[in-house]
């Protein structure tokens, strides 16, 4: 181990919050990579600039993604992080682990990498931070031998993730873990071999609380909901009231559609289910008294992504309600995914997310291509401008020029006619 001084990083060992510097130093006791990672970071702290270069293409046999290449721009000074690639290891659905599973990862990573990790990456993977090129294949081999596989990177399906759902939550409207696992396995090829215009993310939340931020962070957001009524245990309501919960102020007054009421005299709570939008708020506030409905499924939303290029998009509703039963193997959802991907793959430009493609091409084109019916739930409100299109079959043909008009509306370019 080198004895370089790191006065900057030393400052970050202070303070009550667990220190990543201490984590790195601990690994640096046994790993020269970790040591140089620290030294390089100190260099960045001094220079106020990053010292990593664009990663070249690195990887393991049979995979187009799952490893992020990373090279240091001062390889002479920091030879042990000259190559410092990361693995994205597909987490188990819901981020549950046995202690042995964790140890198996630790052992592989001790052998091949820096010993540094992220539990987890923002997409959901286990991120193993920093291995040299020559270790990539052997590291993967050991991971695989221990039952681990890689997650996504590049222009592919990214590792799906899901909330804790039925494993620990009374609000789960379907089995988020099972769906996540099922989709991940169904689409191994899409996950491992980049071939699309850009990345595609799926995130799965069991209810409208959206504990995996799917609407903001996934191209497809799957959000649990129900079609019938909220269950009410009036005795439990009374308990909440008796225990001082301000039901009128903190629950009823905050209902987005004035769909619930509290009778302060009778101490009863009621929901006008037809006007309830299942936002979860009242249930959140009185989990003992209120239960999600029994006719359960999910709302499917599409198009979410971060800022670049067109602006951040929040996924929008494309299927208001879909049943998601384990027994059906989620065929309806998978069919939809296949159709969407096909359309996007054919029409998308390089680095164009599916939401951006829909923005460019128009929702009507998308809906038609994937066979979805337009529904008012898809919009906050209808268009304000009068710039809408007609399909050829919707128009009356003019005498004579009927066919030309038809062709025209079908999308051909005509000159004068």
């Amino acid at each position: 181990m080198s004895d370089k001084k790191r006065p900057m990083l030393d400052e970050l060992k202070k303070g009550p919050w667990p220190s990543f510097v201490k984590q790195m130093e601990k690994q640096a006791e046994t790993s020269e990579m970790a040591e140089d990672a620290l030294n390089l970071l100190e260099q960045s702290y001094n220079d106020k600039v990053v010292h990593w270069k664009h990663g070249g293409i690195v990887g393991v046999r049979g995979y187009g993604g799952g490893v992020i290449g990373r090279y240091c721009d001062m390889p002479e000074e920091f030879p042990n992080v000259k190559e410092f690639h990361t693995f994205r290891v597909n987490q188990p659905a819901g981020w549950f682990y046995t202690s042995d599973a964790l140890r198996s990862l630790a052992d592989v990573w001790e052998k091949h990498g820096s010993g540094l990790t992220n539990f987890h990456g923002a997409t959901g993977d286990v991120v193993l931070l920093g291995a040299p090129t020559e270790h990539l294949q052997s590291c993967f081999d050991d991971l695989s031998a221990n039952g681990w596989d890689l997650g996504g990177s590049g222009s592919d399906l990214r590792t799906p993730s899901c909330c804790v759902g039925p494993a620990r939550c009374s609000s789960a409207c379907f089995d988020t873990l099972d769906l996540c696992h099922n989709l991940t396995n169904q689409f191994q090829n899409e996950l491992h071999r980049p071939m699309w215009p850009y990345k595609f993310k799926i995130k799965i939340s069991g209810c409208a609380n959206d504990c995996v931020s799917s609407i903001a962070r996934a191209d497809m957001s799957i959000i649990g909901t129900w079609r019938d009524v909220i269950g009410i245990d009036q005795d439990a309501v009374k308990d909440y009231a008796a225990n001082g919960l301000e039901i009128q102020e903190l629950v009823v007054d905050k209902c987005p559609t004035d769909a619930c009421t509290f009778d302060a005299e009778q101490m009863t709570f009621n929901v006008d289910d037809e006007n309830c939008v299942r936002c979860m708020h009242c249930i959140n506030k009185m989990p003992k008294a209120l239960q999600i409905g029994k006719d359960r499924g999910a709302t499917i939303l599409l198009g979410g992504k971060a800022t670049l290029v067109q602006s951040a998009f929040l996924s929008w509703v494309i299927v208001p309600f879909m049943k998601l039963e384990k027994e059906d193997d989620y065929v309806e959802l998978k069919d939809l995914l296949d159709k969407m991907w096909e359309w996007w793959d054919e029409n998308g430009k390089v680095r164009e997310r599916i939401g951006e493609l829909i923005y460019r091409k128009g929702m009507r084109t998308f809906l038609k291509e994937v066979g979805l019916k337009p529904q008012p739930q898809m919009v906050k409100h209808p268009r304000a401008n009068p710039y809408f299109f007609w399909w050829p079959e919707e128009l009356a043909k003019e005498k004579g020029e009927g066919d030309a008009l038809g062709e025209a509306a079908a999308g051909k370019e005509i000159k004068n006619g």
Binding site: I215, G304, R364, V379, R383, P386, L405, I414
Partner: protein, 358 residues
């Protein structure tokens, strides 16, 4: 023979010359008003003076004969003064209520309706239509007359949930404040312009023509010294036709009307909001546009039946949600309703919060 040059830039007559004495006396001193009955307002001044306004519905397209008759009535009842409103009604201004009913009697006898104040149907703002504009996809005066005949009673009474402002424009130039009305009907095209290459090359500035297209559907056709329209991108706005007459867009069978709802202009409570597409197309069916009349009537009725007191059209819809509006109004929701222009994305529903509909 050259006449002496008329004076230019004299500007409009000074408004003070036009004001009745009671208004000059109480200018800026009005204290409050009351709605006496539909069509009649009473304004009370700090000075104690009372001004009575009688509001008369007008088709806006009026002849000088009517103008003179109104002038005569103004002489008879209002010391020779009257005004028009921003929605083209005529207002008679009386300095007492004594002769008010006589005036109203004369007006009604001649077929002039009194109303349009308070929570009534206001006069329909509209444009030229086939009467004068080259750009019109439908007629303005005719559609408005047909609709006003049908909704006449709502102009004469003032017990609607709130004000009801209907507007009409005969093409997408939207010369009325159509885009922010409770209900708006608009003449639209549905087929692409037919290009007369010779005309384009002779009479039109091609760069301007290309720039006129909101969707970038027009590109040069250098061979013909004309342009080409990409049919997939054209949504028939007719702006190219405004810029260049050789881009004919009229199509009798496919032109028609679209209806938008839920806009407002005032800042009262919430700020101005756009009207939004309710019905993408209804046929041009002169002389009385039955489909249009029925559709508007239905839209008015569902509002009256469902809105709470004080709720403008759009406020009602915002409360119940657009999805419920389509259900209650019995309107099909189509791909046309989903925005696909410049600012489309923020109109999509980015939340799982919505109501189910049948």
């Amino acid at each position: 023979m050259v006449k002496t040059m008329a004076k230019t830039d004299i500007g409009p007559p000074h408004y003070e010359q036009m004001l009745p004495q009671i208004i000059k006396d109480n200018y800026g001193k009005w204290k409050y008003f009351e709605r006496v009955k539909p069509g009649v307002l009473k304004h009370v001044s700090e000075t104690g003076d009372e001004l009575y306004t009688v509001r008369v519905g007008s088709p806006r397209l009026i002849g000088i004969d009517t103008l003179r008759k109104m002038a005569d009535l103004a002489d008879k009842y209002c010391n020779g003064h009257l005004r028009f409103t921003s929605r083209h009604n005529i207002e008679f201004l009386l300095d007492s209520s004594n002769e008010m009913n006589a005036l109203i009697g004369e007006l009604e006898a001649r077929g002039w309706p009194i109303g349009g104040t308070g929570n009534s149907l206001n006069n329909i703002i509209h444009t030229q239509g086939w009467v004068h504009c080259h750009s019109a996809a439908t007629d303005a005066s005719g559609t408005v007359k047909a609709v006003m005949d049908d909704l006449y009673d709502y102009f004469k009474a003032d017990d609607l949930p709130a004000k009801l402002k209907i507007s009409m424009a005969c093409c997408l130039n939207m010369c009325g404040a159509v885009h922010c009305s409770d209900i708006a009907f608009v003449g639209i095209h549905r087929t692409v312009p037919r290009i007369d290459d010779e005309g384009v090359s002779k009479n039109c500035e091609i760069p301007n023509l290309i720039a006129s297209c909101p969707t970038g559907a027009i590109r040069p056709n250098p061979k013909a010294k004309s342009v080409i329209v990409n049919e997939e991108k054209c949504m028939y706005c007719g702006n190219c036709y405004t810029v260049c007459p050789s881009m004919k867009i009229m199509d009798p069978e496919n032109d028609g009307l679209a209806i938008f709802v839920g806009g407002k202009v005032s800042n009262s409570r919430s700020g101005p909001t756009f009207s939004r597409l309710a019905i993408p197309w209804l046929p041009n069916n002169p002389p009385r546009w039955d489909e249009l009349v029925e559709a508007v009537r239905n839209l008015v009725d569902v509002w009256i039946q469902n809105a709470k007191k004080g709720e403008r059209y759009g406020e009602w819809i915002e409360r119940i949600g657009w999805e419920k509006f389509f259900e209650i109004a019995g309107l099909p929701f189509t791909d046309k309703h989903i925005d696909d222009f410049k600012f489309s994305v923020p109109t999509f529903r980015s939340t799982s919060n919505f109501k189910y509909t049948k």
